[in-house]
């Protein structure tokens, strides 16, 4: 709907955005080049790197990332281009004329080796004591080029203090190779703009505004920078030691909830191809590690639909029937803590548009320490709740002071997919070989609607399935319940469904065209917010925003590496799993019905659910003290 791809690219890189003709045989649209001994034809403007990748010629890279614009700063990808005085970076060189390229001459190999040696000389620490050991691009390069000594020395003491002020992201600039992927992620990809290179020459380092701690700046904790860091300079704030302690403590009742996205991606941590869910295997593994109960976050995702959906219907009624001008529409989803912090910082005047419903993680925490504790007769003080999330921002969210509604800290620890995989490995378990098992009662297996929360558009799809059926008494008019307009990776999606023949209770919605917008990644969220500001969303009713590209499956806590292709495969895994589930609508989840019958007796958005399942937000603003 909104095309801004080109605008997001810094001016210096715009020339690389040559309109590539779709028809490659189009005369004038292609150019023939010779790479080593091979002659190939590529569309004009293809970079040398792209041309090589298409032809199975390996070029080492470090600052290059498929999600980000070109930087050309690490210089590892240099190649020889005939008639040019210096070596050229393959990642940045657009092929515009028939050139001859050599990718592995003595000059090239020597230069690459020198560059790797230089990077290693400044890279503090040793590989064996590094959490990225085995998944580090600098280490891979060193291996590829047979580095067996520090030709230009090795830094002996750290130059920078580690910044672990943030609940979500830890920065250790001693490991930084200044590829600036995090900078490009933060500025160009997410358009948050917390990180930038500071100082000059050898003093250059990636820093925040006035080098303030990350916790004190406008970081939204999305963790996308972590996913793109080639080394160990960025990591999530890891609580696994505390979790082990809780597990080892016989007095503690440790429960874990697992979100759908980690299940669709954790296999990657065990060498599996992206695109396969390990839900059942993970359940078994978690029990073997020592978690007392394993719950499905999708249960509270279903609950979120009930609460958020009811809230939307209430807002619609107030606006349409009561003509209440103070009602804020469209209603924005609030499941993504990165998005919530983004709007708190950048659009604080629009907080009333956010649904007050907590995220599924926090709803679950509050229920475990109240409803579940009562059902199982356990002192909530002895319960430790862990949440396996694809997300770095969830760590911040569970530490928010608003999140103590059960009388205790609702969720004790947020754990990322990467950290979970580490714990599983530490326990001596090889996940892909685990037998499958189910989730525990009283929350049981959730509906498919909750499962698809993991992909962008999922919340919207789940909400529509329920809302449409509540309003009209019929299933959504989409084949097999698949609401196509909600799916796919377009930055901002917009669609609508017409409400006809409504049931008595919702007659006031008769004939209303229910309009919705879905956005993922805060760069797209910014577009949506600007549309809202400009009055372009006046006739829209519901907006889903996820802070991370692709939705939760592309979250900042997910396995490294990430790319559009990997995110697509993870989405496929989620949608595939969903199609096989017996219940695919939130309101048909019997455990949810049971909860409303037994515990939240005054129904969705009732008094108790308001206490436990809803929250409020903070006007943070952009100004840093």
């Amino acid at each position: 709907m909104v095309k801004r791809e080109n605008e997001r690219i810094p001016v210096s890189q715009q020339a690389h955005v040559v309109d590539k003709p779709k028809d490659l045989t189009n005369i004038g649209g292609t150019v023939s080049v010779q790479i080593n001994e091979k002659k190939i034809t590529v569309p004009l403007g293809t970079t040398i790197l792209e041309a090589c990748q298409l032809n199975q010629i390996h070029i080492p890279t470090l600052c290059h990332h498929p999600d980000l614009c070109i930087a050309g700063v690490c210089r590892v990808c240099v190649v020889e281009v005939e008639k040019m005085r210096t070596l050229q970076t393959a990642c940045s060189f657009p092929i515009m004329s028939p050139i001859k390229i050599k990718t592995s001459t003595e000059m090239v190999r020597k230069a690459r080796r020198h560059i790797i040696d230089l990077l290693l000389s400044e890279h503090y620490g040793e590989c064996y004591s590094c959490f990225r050991n085995g998944n580090c691009e600098l280490q891979n390069l060193a291996k590829e080029y047979g580095v067996d000594n520090y030709t230009f020395g090795h830094v002996q003491s750290p130059r920078y203090e580690v910044d672990n002020s943030s609940a979500a992201v830890v920065r250790d600039m001693n490991k930084c190779v200044l590829c600036k992927r995090c900078v490009r992620t933060c500025i160009d990809f997410q358009e948050v703009g917390v990180l930038e290179a500071i100082d000059r020459g050898h003093d250059t380092h990636v820093g925040t505004f006035l080098d303030k701690p990350l916790a004190d700046v406008v970081c939204i904790n999305c963790g996308q920078c972590i996913n793109r860091c080639p080394t160990a300079a960025l990591r999530a704030n890891d609580p696994s030691d505390e979790i082990w302690t809780a597990i080892d403590d016989p007095k503690k009742h440790v429960v874990i909830q697992t979100a759908p996205s980690p299940r669709a991606a954790i296999g990657e941590e065990f060498g599996q191809e992206p695109g396969k869910s390990f839900t059942g295997e993970l359940n078994t593994a978690l029990r073997r590690i020592g978690f007392d109960r394993v719950f499905d976050t999708n249960f509270t995702a279903d609950l979120t639909i009930m609460e958020e959906g009811t809230e939307l219907l209430t807002r619609l009624k107030k606006a349409l029937v009561d003509k209440d001008q103070s009602v804020k529409l469209p209603q924005f989803t609030s499941c993504s803590p990165g998005w919530v912090k983004y709007i708190e910082h950048f659009y604080p005047e629009y907080l009333d548009y956010l649904s007050t419903a907590k995220s599924p993680q926090q709803m679950f925490g509050a229920l475990i320490k109240t409803f579940y504790a009562k059902e199982e007769n356990i002192d909530p003080a002895d319960i430790v709740t862990v949440a396996l999330m694809p997300c770095a921002a969830k760590k911040f969210e569970c530490n928010r002071p608003e999140m103590y509604d059960s009388g205790f800290k609702d969720v004790d620890y947020g754990l990322t997919t990467r950290e979970m995989a580490k714990m599983i490995r530490e326990a001596g378990i090889y996940l892909p070989e685990m037998p499958k098992s189910q989730f525990d009662d009283p929350f049981g297996d959730a509906s498919g609607a909750g499962l698809i929360f993991g992909a962008t558009g999922g919340v919207m799809e789940a909400a529509l399935r329920t809302a449409y059926e509540l309003i009209t008494g019929r299933e959504v008019p989409f084949e097999n319940l698949i609401i196509e307009p909600c799916r796919g990776f377009e930055g901002v999606k917009q669609a609508s469904v017409k409400l006809e023949n409504c049931v008595e209770q919702y007659k006031f919605l008769e004939g209303v065209e229910l309009k919705f917008v879905v956005a993922h990644g805060t760069a797209n969220a910014k577009i949506v917010m600007e549309m809202l500001k400009n009055g372009e969303l006046n006739d829209v009713h519901f907006v889903e925003v996820m802070a991370c590209p692709g939705g939760c499956l592309g979250g900042g806590g997910q396995p490294i590496p990430t790319s559009a292709e990997i995110r697509k495969k993870r989405a496929e895994a989620i949608y595939e799993e969903e199609a096989t589930l017996p219940i695919r609508k939130s309101h048909e989840n019997t455990h949810v019905t049971y909860l409303y019958e037994k515990f939240l007796t005054d129904g969705p958005c009732g008094k108790l659910s308001h206490k436990l399942l809803h929250t409020h937000y903070v006007k943070r603003g952009k100004y840093i003290s």
Binding site: Q14, V73, R75, T86, H114, E122, E196, A197
Partner: protein, 405 residues
């Protein structure tokens, strides 16, 4: 003004410091038309005076050929190379040449706006330049419909740099103009296609632009008479260091270093650094080399060292400069320069092996080949040339060669 007239009279030279009357260049250019300007320029063989030596006519032709409706001509007055001060002389004493060069350039490529990027430290010239621009506007040499030509309007603004050496690199200069960190861009795309704000932009050195009005007025043929086949015309040399008459000299290309030393009355000269910190250092045995793009190329900086100088200290000074001034963007330059400086310190402390020094010379070669911009590509020049040309002094005579073998 009186003082300036006197100053001006003191200078004489074959091209830039020859007689010139305000406005004549622009007048002639408008009569000639675009094609003929480019012809004369091409015929003259004028190459970039900033040091890189790219043919000016080609640069103008490339951006002139672009269909873009918005183009820019930028005068690079970020004179930062240690030991050059010739642009300052041009801006102070011959601003008409510089500005008319920009106007002619704007006319030729089809730009309506010119920007003079003035070195931050030259802020004191700003006022006189602004005044001069005002005068040009009054004389109808600048502004709308220049000299009554309905199809040509051109304006010049002056912007100040903030003191970074790297901003003399044309793409870093453009980034700086746009308000970003002064970091060089990837090339290609070149500024002639994608420059300031994404529009075709010609970035020329002050001296290059100042040569243009003379070429237009007197013809490429006349310009070519000076200099050599490959280096046509004359060049301003900023001479400093151990000589009796330092200053700015206009000499034809092809002058040998020995001749230049005679002109500036240098005695007991041991070494000459040609091209500033990023240039090469020549020993006595090479003083017969000639200044020109084909032999000893320079953007104008000539630093003379006599017998009393310690060449290792000279080198250290240069390397400290580059460590300080590297933008820090690309690996070879950011870390490489530090490694070269460390090596100099090790030589000073007599704590080195020759294989280590050779490793670093190889690293210097990599920096020349793989750095992103001219800064990193040229910073090892002095390291390599001084260690090579003065190895007896550095490793032998001072007794520092004991690790040898």
């Amino acid at each position: 003004m009186e003082l300036e007239k006197i100053k001006k009279k003191m200078r004489s030279g074959p091209v830039l410091f020859s007689e010139y009357k305000l406005g004549e260049g622009v007048k002639k250019a408008l009569q000639l038309g675009r094609e003929n300007i480019l012809f004369e320029l091409k015929d003259s063989g004028l190459k970039g005076r900033g040091g890189a030596g790219f043919p000016t006519a080609t640069k103008w032709m490339l951006s002139g050929a672009s269909l873009s409706d918005k183009k820019f001509i930028v005068c690079n007055a970020d004179e930062g190379e240690p030991g050059t001060f010739k642009d300052r002389v041009l801006l102070l004493e011959y601003p008409e040449l510089v500005f008319e060069g920009m106007i002619i350039g704007g006319y030729t490529i089809g730009a309506k706006e010119g920007i003079l990027y003035l070195r931050g430290e030259y802020e004191y010239i700003l006022k006189s330049l602004e005044d001069f621009l005002e005068m040009l506007r009054k004389d109808k040499l600048l502004g709308n419909n220049i000299l009554g030509n309905e199809n040509f309007s051109f304006n010049i603004t002056i912007r100040l740099g903030s003191g970074a050496y790297v901003c003399g690199e044309e793409t870093a200069l453009i980034e700086s103009l746009e308000g970003y960190r002064g970091e060089p861009r990837n090339r290609p795309p070149y500024p002639v296609n994608t420059g300031y704000l994404g529009h075709p932009t010609v970035v020329n050195n002050v001296e290059t632009l100042a040569s243009v009005p003379h070429i237009i007025l007197k013809g490429g043929e006349w310009f070519k008479k000076h200099g050599t086949d490959k280096s046509t015309g004359s060049k301003l040399f900023s001479v400093s260091g151990d000589c009796d008459k330092p200053g700015v000299y206009e000499l034809p290309w092809g002058t040998s270093i020995a001749e230049l030393l005679k002109v500036v009355e240098a005695k007991n000269t041991k070494a000459v650094q040609v091209g500033g910190a990023s240039g090469i250092c020549l020993p006595k045995s090479q003083f017969n080399r000639v200044l020109g793009y084909e032999d000893a190329a320079t953007g104008g900086s000539i630093i003379v060292f006599n017998e009393s100088r310690n060449m290792l200290k000279v080198l250290k000074n240069f390397m400290e400069f580059f460590v300080e001034e590297s933008c820090g963007q690309c690996t070879p330059c950011r870390i490489g320069n530090i490694k070269l400086l460390e090596a100099i310190e090790k030589i000073e402390n007599n704590d080195f092996t020759f294989s280590y020094i050779n490793n670093l010379k190889e690293l210097g070669r990599t920096m020349q080949l793989a750095s992103k911009c001219g800064l990193g590509q040229s910073s090892p020049n002095s390291f390599i040339s001084i260690l090579e040309n003065f190895k007896d002094e550095i490793f032998g005579l001072n007794g520092k060669g004991k690790n040898n073998g």
